[in-house]
């Protein structure tokens, strides 16, 4: 026990005197969380507050065109424009402006769109009244949505579907009014029939509810998504100082002396593991503190921790174990500090990419989703998302914890095997 505590004291002293190592452990992850959360939150908030810059060219100049324009003017989703340099924009100018990124989306309402709708309704009414409409030709028109190619596909899909829904409502209303007008022609003038109006209140509406067991209102947001993701990423980056610690001991000759000491290599590794796991847990607490205290000071939502504090502790421990175990493995495999640093960082980047830190795993292709299940960062993310977003409890996250614990055990077993093989020479 005294040997272990002496080895832990040594590890602690080495760590606190390594300024760069400390920066990697604490400052960098905090900066990362601040930057990533603020960027994501403010980016969407700016779009939400100021609206998506949208340019409309109304060639129709009739009821459909005007109504779409009026609707977009009052919309919170978009920032409506119809002019460029103080002059009404033309179709070509619209294409050019969107191409240059001045507007994210452009809408062109072609000439005669309203007339086309009216003719179509008239034809339908005539047809239903038994008139011969075979000679009536109705041309089709397309409302064009011009999109800036740099806009991400998911973002474009989300915005255009909302625009499509709006335009479709306007179109339906015009059709309804035209239909009313057509019917009115067949009603005798002395008969007073109240014309029905297209109601704004729809019979079927939609309500979005998050399937979470967290009490109170849960609103997934940049804080709720970013804190767990980047905390896990930062915790795994403990691999770098850990590899550095192992490699320095090899390069500075301490390992040579260890092998002549009546204390096992396992004891030295255990001391490292305990110190670095504790550091990981401190790191984790600091990250949570950022979400609970510091980000709200900047106007961001407060991080909601869910219903199980024990679950959070267990997941944090599992994540810390997996990260340190992985660090020991990389440290044992690498021949030089440089090799270890490159190998460690690359593997974490790969694990984080396939694990869904950068892009959510659920939007990945099927094969990548299968591969992502192999990443310890994914197991950790699933656990933390379960706790923070789904309101899961201690029992629900145990499978994720056991996967991380198993990963830790496998890493250590390989590291000890590699180390003993190297020693035997």
């Amino acid at each position: 026990m005294r040997k272990l505590s002496a080895a832990m004291r040594k590890e602690f002293l080495l760590l606190i005197r390594d300024k760069i190592g400390l920066a990697i452990l604490f400052v960098m992850p905090m900066v990362l969380i601040f930057v990533m959360t603020l960027i994501q939150d403010t980016a969407f908030r700016t779009l939400n507050e100021e609206g998506i810059p949208l340019l409309v060219v109304n060639e129709d100049q009739d009821s459909l065109g005007f109504r779409i324009e009026n609707g977009l003017k009052t919309s919170d989703l978009v920032a409506y424009h119809n002019e460029i340099n103080g002059k009404k924009a033309t179709r070509d100018e619209l294409y050019e402006a969107v191409k240059k990124g001045k507007f994210l989306i452009g809408i062109v309402i072609p000439k005669g769109t309203t007339k086309t709708i009216q003719e179509e309704v008239k034809r339908l009414v005539d047809e239903s009244l038994g008139e011969d409409v075979s000679n009536v030709q109705v041309t089709s028109t397309e409302i064009e949505m011009v999109i800036d190619p740099i806009a991400s596909k998911s973002f474009v899909t989300s915005v255009t579907s909302q625009l499509r829904e709006f335009i479709s409502t306007v179109k339906t209303r015009i059709m309804f009014e035209t239909f009313n007008a057509q019917i009115a022609e067949f009603i005798p003038d002395d008969l007073e029939v109240k014309q029905s109006e297209y109601s704004n209140k729809q019979a079927v509406t939609y309500k979005e509810v998050y399937a979470s067991e967290i009490s109170g209102e849960l609103k997934p947001n940049a804080v709720q998504h970013n804190i767990p993701a980047w905390t896990i990423f930062a915790m795994f980056f403990i691999v770098l100082p850990l590899v550095s610690s192992i490699m320095k001991e090899k390069e500075e000759g301490s390992v040579f002396r260890f092998h002549t000491i009546p204390a096992s290599y396992f004891l030295q590794i255990n001391a490292k593991l305990i110190v670095f796991i504790v550091i990981c847990l401190i790191q984790f607490c600091l990250m949570l503190l950022i979400g609970l205290v510091f980000l709200p000071m900047l106007g961001l939502p407060v991080l909601q921790l869910g219903n199980s504090y024990i679950g959070i502790l267990i997941m944090a421990l599992g994540c810390a174990m997996a990260a340190t175990g992985f660090g020991v493995l990389v440290g044992s495999l690498a021949a030089t500090l440089q090799q270890g640093a490159v190998l460690g960082s690359l593997l974490i980047l790969v694990f984080s990419a396939i694990g869904g830190i950068w892009v959510p795993a659920y939007v990945m292709p099927s094969i990548m989703r299968t591969i992502s299940e192999l990443s310890p960062l994914k197991w950790a993310m699933d656990g933390f998302y379960g706790l923070f977003l789904r309101g899961e409890g201690f029992v629900d996250i145990l499978p994720h914890f056991f996967k991380l614990a198993l990963f830790f055990a496998v890493c250590l077993a390989i590291a000890v095997r590699v180390q003993s093989k190297k020693r035997i020479g």
């Binding site: 040997k3 002496a6 080495l14 500075e252 002549t260």
Partner: protein
């Protein structure tokens, strides 16, 4: 007593064995010098004697114990002072010694007394709380040596203990090593420094291409080679075929 019987070591991918059928016995309380040119097999021999490298064949025993069955006991019995400074540069000299002493299981109070005593002997009390990275080469060597003897080993392995240090530090180190030997410690010493070995060792073996080519007291070895005036000339004559004494 240290005994090597028919010990060979051939590294994987090496064409020739680093040590070939080595037979050697070293008495207790000797200062034994293992001398040889670079690549002769000195480091491999010492590494096998410290239990760091397993021999390909043959047997090694220290005080009748072998590494295979008595690894922990033998590690407690030996002290190793490597040629490279095996210290933590960001820890102070004292912190390094406290760590290594604790690793040998020296009780806390005894360890503190021994550290104080050795720092005093080497006139390093004032710099004990400074980081090793700020030490001179001589100071690092002294702390490197103390780290290997804090647990008072019966056998001490020294690999080039005075390389890169000034004359005063060297004299200081050698003086204290002699004192340790007088107190009963067996010292196995490896060096290129022939003059130092000649005066320090009571018994030497010259090793070349993995085999011992001469063995004996330095004075006897010099006397046996009529055209040599010192151990360096004996060494050169035996390891360099076209050597001619001045």
């Amino acid at each position: 007593m240290i005994e090597l019987i028919n010990v060979s070591k051939k590294y994987v991918d090496a064409e020739k064995p680093a040590v070939n059928e080595l037979n050697l016995s070293i008495n207790d309380k000797e200062i034994f010098g293992l001398l040889g040119p670079n690549g002769a097999g000195k480091t491999t021999t010492i590494s096998m004697l410290c239990g760091l490298v397993q021999p390909t064949s043959g047997s090694i025993s220290l005080n009748g114990l072998n590494f295979k069955d008595n690894l922990t006991e033998l590690k407690q019995l030996i002290g190793v002072v490597p040629q490279d400074i095996a210290l933590y540069p960001t820890l102070t000299g004292k912190e390094n010694l406290e760590f290594y002493g604790a690793m040998y299981g020296v009780p806390k109070v005894i360890l503190a007394n021994r550290i104080t005593s050795w720092l005093k002997k080497f006139e390093m009390e004032k710099s004990a709380n400074k980081r090793v990275s700020s030490y001179s080469g001589g100071m690092k060597r002294r702390i490197n040596l103390i780290a290997g003897i804090l647990h008072q080993p019966e056998i001490l392995f020294l690999d080039e203990p005075t390389v890169g240090v000034d004359v005063q530090s060297r004299s200081d180190i050698m003086h204290h090593l002699k004192a340790l030997n007088t107190d009963g410690m067996t010292i196995i010493y490896s060096s290129h420094h022939m003059e130092e070995a000649e005066h320090f060792c009571s018994d030497v073996a010259i090793i070349n291409t993995g085999e011992i080519i001469a063995r004996g007291n330095p004075v006897e070895l010099i006397q046996n080679q009529s055209d040599c005036r010192n151990l360096e000339e004996v060494f050169l004559k035996l390891t360099k075929p076209n050597f001619h004494s001045k």
